[in-house]
C-alpha cells in the first residue's frame, strides 16, 4: 500500500516514546555530573571510586556476572545441542526451557529460597542422609547468587545458541565426517565456529542481564554480598540519594556496555563471515 505524506504521522507515537526515553537518559547522565552550583563535575564519580566498599561491589558485580555467563554457557551449550538434534517433536523440551524462562524472576528466586535456605529442601535432604550435621550455608553468599542468576538467565543462552543450531545444516557435519574428521574434530572445526554467533549473542544477553539484576542478588545474597543493582536499590530507597544512584546507574551501564558493545561488533563480524551459511 502506498502512503502519502501524512503517513509520517503514524510514526509519531513511537518517536515520542523514544524521544522521551532519550531525554530521561540524558537527564540521568546529567544528574550524575551535577555539582551543587549546576556546573558539571566529576565529584560523584570520584566519591564512588574513593569508597572501598563501592569498588568491592563493582568488582563483585563483574565477577558474579562473568561467572554466571560462563556457567550458563557451559550448561546451555550442550542443552541447545541436544534440543536441536532431538529426533521427533521438540515441543516438550522447548516447554521445559521456555516456561521457566517466562515465569517471573521473583517466583523463581523464591523457589531457590525454599530449596537453598537453612531449613530448605537441600539441607533437609542432606541432613536426612546424614551427610551434614549443621546446615550448609547455601544462601546469603555468592554461591547462592550465582545459582539463582544462572537459573534465571541461562534460558537466554540456550535459546540464543539453539537459534543458530536450528539453522545449521546437518550435511555440514556429514561433509566433515566424510572428509575424515571424527566427532571431536568435527565439533572443533565445524560446529563450534559456526555456532559462535549464538554463543556471542547469548553471552551478551546473559552478561547484561546479570550485571543489572536486583531481585535475585538481594533475595539470595542478602545485604552483605551486594551487587551494583542491589546497591543502587539501597541508595535509592534507603538513603534516598538520587544523584548517587544515578552515578551508579551510569557506571553500571558503562561496565555492561564495555563488554556488550565489543561483543556485538565481534558478533556482526563473525556473522558476516558466515554469510550464506544456510
Amino acid at each position: 500500500m502506498r502512503f502519502g505524506r501524512l503517513a509520517w504521522l503514524l510514526m509519531l507515537p513511537l518517536a515520542a516514546v523514544l524521544g522521551l526515553f532519550l531525554v530521561s537518559l540524558g537527564a540521568l547522565v546529567w544528574s550524575s555530573f551535577a555539582g551543587a552550583d549546576g556546573v558539571p563535575k566529576l565529584d560523584l564519580y570520584a566519591r564512588f571510586f574513593a569508597r572501598r566498599d563501592y569498588v568491592d561491589v563493582l568488582v563483585r558485580t563483574l565477577w558474579v556476572a562473568g561467572l554466571t555467563t560462563l556457567v550458563s554457557l557451559a550448561i546451555g551449550y550442550p542443552v541447545a545441542w541436544a534440543v536441536a538434534r532431538h529426533k521427533g517433536r521438540r515441543d516438550w523440551l522447548l516447554v521445559l526451557i521456555i516456561l521457566p524462562w517466562l515465569v517471573s524472576v521473583v517466583v523463581r528466586t523464591y523457589g531457590w529460597i525454599v530449596i537453598l535456605g537453612n531449613r530448605g529442601l537441600l539441607n533437609a535432604f542432606l541432613g536426612w542422609l546424614g551427610v551434614v550435621d549443621t546446615p550448609l550455608k547455601l544462601m546469603f553468599n555468592t554461591t547462592g547468587i550465582v545459582i539463582g542468576l544462572v537459573h534465571v538467565f541461562c534460558p537466554f543462552m540456550i535459546l540464543a545458541i539453539l537459534a543458530v543450531f536450528l539453522h545449521l545444516e546437518r550435511s555440514l557435519e556429514e561433509a566433515s565426517m566424510s572428509l575424515g574428521a571424527g566427532p571431536w574434530q568435527t565439533f572443533r572445526k565445524v560446529i563450534w565456529p559456526l555456532s559462535l554467533p549464538g554463543v556471542i549473542s547469548g553471552t551478551m544477553i546473559v552478561y547484561l542481564m546479570a550485571t543489572g539484576a536486583i531481585v535475585t542478588p538481594l533475595l539470595l545474597g542478602g545485604l552483605r554480598d551486594r551487587m551494583l543493582g542491589t546497591q543502587i536499590y539501597q541508595e535509592m530507597f534507603q538513603v534516598f540519594d538520587f544523584p548517587r544512584a544515578a552515578t551508579m546507574a551510569v557506571i553500571l551501564t558503562a561496565t555492561a556496555l564495555a563488554v556488550v558493545l565489543p561483543l556485538g561488533m565481534l558478533e556482526r563480524r563473525v556473522s558476516r563471515n558466515l554469510k550464506g551459511a544456510s
Binding site: 500500500m1 503517513a7 503514524l10 507515537p13 513511537l14 518517536a15 516514546v17 522521551l20 526515553f21 531525554v23 530521561s24 540521568l28 544528574s31 550448561i75 550442550p78 542443552v79 541436544a82 522447548l94 516447554v95 521445559l96 521456555i98 516456561l99 524462562w101 517466562l102 515465569v103 517471573s104 524472576v105 521473583v106 523464591y110 523457589g111 529460597i113 525454599v114 530449596i115 531449613r119 529442601l121 537459573h151 534460558p155 535459546l159 540464543a160 539453539l162 537459534a163 566427532p183 565439533f187 544477553i205 547484561l208 550485571t211 543489572g212 539484576a213 536486583i214 531481585v215 533475595l219 543493582g229 536499590y233 535509592m236 546507574a249 553500571l252 551501564t253 555492561a256 558493545l261 556485538g264
Partner: protein, 268 residues
C-alpha cells in the same frame, strides 16, 4: 560433537533444574503448615483462601493485569504504526532508527529502573500508575517491534496489488488483506509483551508507590519480610497465568517463535 553419557546426564539435569524451583513453589503452596516448607506435608487450600481474602493482594493482581494489558496494547499499536512506515518508506537513517527502537534492550535493568524513575518524576508520576505504564511501554516496544517488522517484511506486496487490481480501495485492502496477513505477528507481539510486562519486577521496583503495587513487586517485598506460604499461593497464581499465555502462544503461533525472537532480541 562428542556425545557421551556424561553429556546426556548434564542435559537431563539442566532440563530438570530449570522447572524445579517453580514446581517446588507450586507444590508447597498447598501446605497446611504456617511456614513455608517442602515437602508440604498435610495439604490444604488455606493460603489461597488467605490470598482471596486480602484486598491488598487482589488489588495488586488487578494492577498487574491492567498494566500488562494496557502496556501490551499500547506498545503493539505504537510499534505497529511505526513499523508500517518503517518498512514501506525509505528514509535516511532507517538503520539508526531501528537501533534506537531496540535501545532499551541494551541497558541493565537496575540502570533502566533509575532512568524510568527520573522520567516518572518529570511528569509527577512517581509511584503512580501512569509512570509504571509508560516505563512498561518503553520496555516492551522492542519485543513488539521485531515480530511485527518481520511479518511486515514477509508480507508479499503483490497480494495488496492483486486486491487493488480486483477493484478494492486502500482501506478495504488494509482491512481484508493486509491486516489478516499480519495477524500472527500482531498476536505474537501482544502476548509476548503481555507476559513480559506481567512478570516484570526489577524496573517496576523503582516505580511502584504506596497506592499502586504490581503483584511481582508485592511478592518481592513480602519474601523479604515473612516466610508465610501465602507467597507460594500467589506465586502459583502468577505461574498459572504465565502458563496460560504460553499455551495460548503455542496454540496460535508455536513455541519455536521464542527461539527466533531470541535471536532477534540481540541488542543493537
Amino acid at each position: 560433537m562428542p556425545w557421551t553419557a556424561a553429556g546426556r546426564t548434564l542435559v537431563a539435569a539442566v532440563l530438570l533444574f530449570l522447572p524445579a524451583p517453580i514446581v517446588i513453589v507450586v507444590m508447597s503452596s498447598f501446605t497446611a503448615r504456617g511456614y513455608i516448607s517442602f515437602p508440604p506435608g498435610e495439604l490444604s487450600l488455606r493460603w489461597y483462601a488467605e490470598f482471596l481474602a486480602s484486598p491488598d493482594w487482589l488489588m495488586s493482581l488487578v494492577v498487574s493485569l491492567v498494566l500488562a494489558a494496557l502496556a501490551a496494547a499500547f506498545s503493539t499499536l505504537i510499534a505497529f504504526l511505526g513499523a508500517l512506515v518503517f518498512t514501506r518508506k525509505r528514509f535516511p537513517g532507517a538503520a539508526g532508527f531501528e537501533t534506537l527502537v531496540l535501545l532499551p534492550l541494551i541497558f541493565p535493568h537496575a540502570a533502566l529502573g533509575v532512568v524510568m524513575l527520573g522520567m516518572a518524576g518529570m511528569f509527577g508520576w512517581t509511584g503512580r500508575f501512569p509512570g509504571l505504564l509508560l516505563a512498561h511501554v518503553i520496555m516492551t516496544v522492542p519485543y513488539a517491534w521485531r515480530p511485527i517488522v518481520s511479518s511486515l517484511r514477509k508480507l508479499d506486496l503483490s497480494t495488496e496489488e492483486a486486491a487493488m487490481s480486483l477493484g478494492a480501495r486502500p482501506l478495504y485492502v488494509f482491512r481484508r488483506v493486509t491486516l489478516p496477513l499480519l495477524r500472527p505477528g500482531l498476536v505474537t507481539a501482544l502476548l509476548f509483551t503481555f507476559i513480559i510486562s506481567f512478570d516484570e519486577v526489577t524496573v517496576s521496583l523503582f516505580l511502584v508507590g504506596p497506592d499502586v503495587t504490581t503483584l511481582p513487586v508485592r511478592i518481592f517485598a513480602h519474601i523479604q519480610d515473612s516466610g508465610s506460604p501465602v507467597i507460594a499461593a500467589i506465586s502459583t497464581v502468577l505461574v498459572a497465568l504465565t502458563v496460560l499465555v504460553v499455551l495460548l502462544l503455542d496454540r496460535l503461533i508455536g513455541l519455536e517463535l521464542f527461539v527466533e525472537s531470541e535471536q532477534r532480541r540481540r541488542p543493537a
